[in-house]
Amino acid sequence: MTDTSSTVNHNIDDNNEQPQKEAANYDEYKELAIQGLWKNNPGLVQLLGLCPLLAVTATVTNAIGLGLATLLVLLCSNITVSAIRHWVPKEIRIPIFVLIIAAFVTCVQLLMNAYTFGLYQSLGIFLPLIVTNCAIIGRAEAYASKQPIKQAAFDGLMMGLGFALVLIVLGAIREILGQGTLFDGANLLLGDWASSLRIEVLELNSDFLLAILPPGAFIVMGFLIAIKNAIDNKIKEKNTINEDKVIERVRVNFDS
């Protein structure tokens, strides 16, 4: 989890160096980044896109592969949706968004089929299932369809990154616990040279199969969410400067 939080800080630092005149923009982007990576993380908070999240995270390689694919689709779909947002009739926007996403997914699918066939196979149906990743359609509907392209693209990037990060963390935990390795099968993603990336983290005389099996995925995910909650609670406790919000009361009387 520390991965994620440090990324947030990193982002903030980057943005801090931007000139003053872009302050408004900077705030907006900062907010988008925080929302995507931490506060409203699609995996941990919104609990969207759980299916691929749990299904393909038995190894880090798979996680990265799917994470990147999702990121790509999310980015493209956000941009497209934002670009055409003025021409889409309200009633049929959802089917249209879905079709746009499906088109991108098909592209990604074909790409991966061509270049990383091993990974394409090990991801199985979860690659086409990116279409139904609620995180993507959710962003398209909730954000991209109402914002200019730039923000939408950034939002897509951050949400996708947030999602990919959760995937990777989950994949890493499960792979370490279950097999004692990291980046096993990286060659599927990056080509043969990458098989040397494989790291033996733990030398276990017997694998902890639970972590790789479905129950383990659920349980590790549960713990991830709990850890996030715990960190949030800690932060909240620190900032308990009680600002007295004034209740703006509205009277019913004189103008009714």
């Binding site: 019913v252 009387n253 004189f254 103008d255 009714s256």
Partner: protein, 769 residues
């Protein structure tokens, strides 16, 4: 029904679900005769000793009352009277802790006993047959009889003739492990009880009368059987001992096998149940004209040296009963004393609690016999859903699920689980291995559900009223608009005849009115609309109605948002009260002053805008200052009443005088504040000026008038009050205002301290340009 009687004759009964067998402790008291107690020194008689309402007091402190004399009178069918249990003097009528689990106080009559025990005149009746049913019911009601088994439902309502009664069931089960009061009453007074039953028979004419009695009271069974020997209608039904066989629904189920539908009364099935003690009380009341003034109370528990049944006068404090039976605190720091049985009784918070009509037992257990009573709820651990509670529940509920939902305050779920059918018998908590005070959870939940239902009812009512009010306001608004129009026309006509000065004002007014309308059309809620309307009214101050209108304006200003209502109000006021000499005006002025003081610190910007127009075009700094002061004064107006004088030019003197009177600081602060306001105003004005030239013009025209008018206004109002005698009331009001002001000032101080007067004025000047 015949089959039921056949079964009963064979002594074959039904059974209810669940039930427990707590250890019997009846032997502590059931071998000793009922002991008549000596008279205590003081009796505490609560006005309400039953379910329903309390009666109206008939006596006063200091009255001497005789034994059996009614102390309250029932004006409501649900109220029963209480009577003096013995003769004596009433020393107090005040709130005192009553026999209720809450330990709260209710109105009680304190009776100092004179030890004469003099009866009021009684008219015994030897032959019940001579009385009509109505007379009997009335006698029962007058004797103050309410159910003596536990709930305390007024008996006269229950016995008022009803058609088609199949079963009259006399509840003699007395299933609580310690209580023997009914047992002994049956042993010693079975004849009277049967007399009572006969009277009930005459009233209700049931098909059968069943006496349900548990098999652990052999002597009482014997006595009853003997007393009812010749009566065919009456069946003495000996049922197995099991707690809570004495519950109304449980006993009905045991004896007749019938279930009473949830939420309905047994009468729907043609069944009426009465307690034996109630039967005894009825026979006493009818035959001997003795109201309900005493009852048998089992005083028991191993903490007592001589546990026994006693005849206790209603109102006898518990400590008297305990001391009569040799209470020993066993060296414990805290000892529970329980009113009622160990299963359903409640612990008493204090020993001054009096015996009431439903008190059948006072239990002082020793630690050895009832350790859990000493432990409170500390032994509670988590529920493991063992299901023992569900096994013993006489109403077949799921106590453990109820408990979960009750803890989670999930009321819809509780209703789904039929919490309302719980009879509080405590069997579940008795067996719970986790020592969870289940009944307590249910009671809290029930109370909260009841409260919620009441709130829902109230909400519904509130909604209806709110809707009605909205409609009414709508209607009034329309009417007012109409009136407003007419009034405006009338005013126009009047102004045409007025002095040139007034004419000048008139045109301003016309312009202002036009503006008002335009603005209103644009934005009804815009704050500026009232600000503008204010001057409109002010111009009218030249008339006699000045004072009222001034008040109205002030009020309008005080309003946080400008709305049409106050404006209209003002007009209405003006119409209603043309005379200035009404002393009430002072009140209004005072109120206004206060409101201003209060609001100004919060709402400075808005107010500033409002006052803006009057101030903009002030001719000189000095004037402005005067103006500010004058305005501040308006707030403190009421106070000035005492020292006010007619001359308008001395307004400032006035102010200073009045302020000095209350608090020298006020003046200064007010002025400061006004300055701050002016500053805010100046800014807003610059904008405004740009916006409309008309605005400027109007204010310019008004300028000359504004200043003197203000002062005049002040003085006028004070004059009004002067002409009246300054009553006590006024003085009081002034005091109140002063108080309020002081409050407001404290706040203001914080807000405005840093702003200097000069600076403000400078700013103001700028704004004017």
């Amino acid at each position: 029904m015949e089959s039921i009687i056949n079964r009963i004759n064979q002594q074959k009964f039904w059974s209810f679900h669940g039930g427990v067998h707590p250890p019997e402790q009846k032997t502590l008291t059931n071998q000793k005769p009922i002991k008549p107690l000596s008279l205590p020194e003081q009796l505490i008689i609560p006005l309400q000793q039953h379910i329903g309402r309390q009666g109206d007091l008939l006596v006063q402190v200091g009255d001497h009352v005789l034994k059996g004399q009614p102390l309250t009178k029932s004006t409501n069918p649900m109220a029963v009277p209480v009577h003096a249990p013995t003769s004596g003097t009433i020393t107090a009528i005040k709130h005192s802790v009553i026999a209720h689990p809450s330990g709260l106080s209710e109105l009680c009559i304190f009776l100092n006993v004179d030890h004469q025990d003099t009866w009021v005149e009684r008219t015994p009746c030897n032959d019940v047959a001579t009385l009509t049913n109505q007379e009997i019911v009335k006698k029962i009601a007058d004797a103050g009889i309410s159910g003596m088994g536990g709930a305390g439902f007024p008996t006269h309502i229950k016995v008022d003739t009803k058609p088609d009664i199949n079963f009259l069931i006399i509840n003699a089960a007395e299933c609580e492990p310690y209580i023997t009061a009914d047992d002994l009453l049956m042993c010693e007074h079975s004849e009277s009880i049967v007399d009572g039953i006969k009277i009930l028979n005459k009233l209700l004419n049931p098909a059968f009368i069943l006496i349900g009695i548990e098999d652990n009271k052999p002597k009482a069974i014997e006595a009853l059987k003997k007393a009812t020997a010749g009566i065919e209608k009456i069946h003495v039904c000996v049922v197995p001992t099991e707690y809570p066989a004495g519950g109304e629904k449980q006993l009905i189920q045991i004896l007749t096998g019938k279930e009473i539908k949830s939420g309905t009364l047994p009468i729907k099935e043609g069944i009426i149940m009465q307690n034996v003690a109630t039967c005894y009380a009825i026979s006493e009341a009818i035959l001997h004209d003795t109201p309900l003034i005493q009852r048998v109370v089992t005083v028991t528990g191993q903490a007592l040296e001589k546990p026994q049944n006693v005849w206790a006068l209603l109102g006898t404090p518990v400590h008297y009963l305990l001391s009569q039976c040799g209470f020993d605190n066993q060296g414990m720091e805290k000892t529970p004393v329980i009113m009622g049985g160990p299963m359903m009784g409640f612990s008493l918070p204090t020993d001054t609690v009096p015996v009431i009509k439903t008190t059948n037992c006072i239990l002082a257990p020793s630690y050895k016999e009832m350790p859990s009573a000493f432990e409170g709820n500390s032994a509670e651990v988590e529920c493991i859903r063992c299901g023992q509670c569900a096994d013993v529940c006489p109403t077949n509920l799921l106590p453990q699920e109820l408990q979960w939902s009750a803890k989670a305050k999930d009321y819809p779920q509780l209703n789904k689980l039929n919490l309302s059918d719980c009879i509080d018998c405590g069997a579940c908590a008795y067996v719970c291995p986790s020592h969870i005070p289940l009944v307590q959870y249910y009671r809290i939940a029930k109370a909260e559900i009841r409260q919620q239902q009441q709130q829902e009812l109230k909400a519904e009512k509130a909604k209806a009223r709110f809707e009605a009010r909205k409609q009414r306001l709508e209607k009034e608004k329309r009417a007012r608009e109409l009136k407003h129009k007419k009034a405006a026309e009338a005013r126009k006509a009047a102004m045409n005849k007025a002095t040139p000065e007034a004419t000048e004002a008139k045109s301003a007014v016309a312009a202002a009115l036009a503006r008002v309308k335009a603005k209103k059309a644009a934005n009804q809620k815009s704050p500026s609309s009232s600000a503008i309307s204010a001057p409109v009214e002010t111009t009218e101050n030249q008339d006699n109605k000045k004072a009222q209108v001034a008040a109205a304006i002030a009020r309008a200003k005080a309003k946080k948002q400008a709305k049409p209502a106050p404006e209209i109000d003002a007009k209405e006021n003006a119409k209603v009260e043309p005379s200035n000499t009404d002393s009430k005006k002072a009140k209004i002025a005072a109120a206004v002053a206060k409101a201003k003081a209060k609001k100004s610190q919060e709402k400075a910007p808005i107010q500033g805008q409002e006052q803006n127009q009057e101030q903009t075009d002030s001719l000189s700094l000095a004037d402005k200052k005067a103006n500010a002061i004058a305005k501040a004064k308006a707030k403190a107006l009421a106070k000035k009443q005492a020292s006010s004088n007619n001359d308008s030019s001395t307004a400032s003197d006035l102010t200073i005088a009045s302020t000095a009177e209350s608090e020298p600081a006020i003046d200064e602060k007010d002025a400061k504040k006004a300055a701050v306001i002016a500053k805010a105003k100046a800014k807003a004005l610059a904008k405004k000026n740009k916006e409309s030239n008309t605005d400027n013009k109007v204010s310019e025209k008004n300028t000359v008038n504004v200043e003197p008018r203000k002062v005049q206004n002040t003085s006028e109002t004070s004059t009004i009050n002067d002409t009246n005698n300054i009553s006590d009331k006024d003085a009081k009001k002034a005091a109140i205002i002063a108080k309020a002001k002081a409050k407001a000032l404290a706040k203001k101080k914080l807000a405005t301290q840093s702003v200097s007067e000069e600076k403000t004025m400078h700013e103001q000047e700028k704004g004017a340009k």
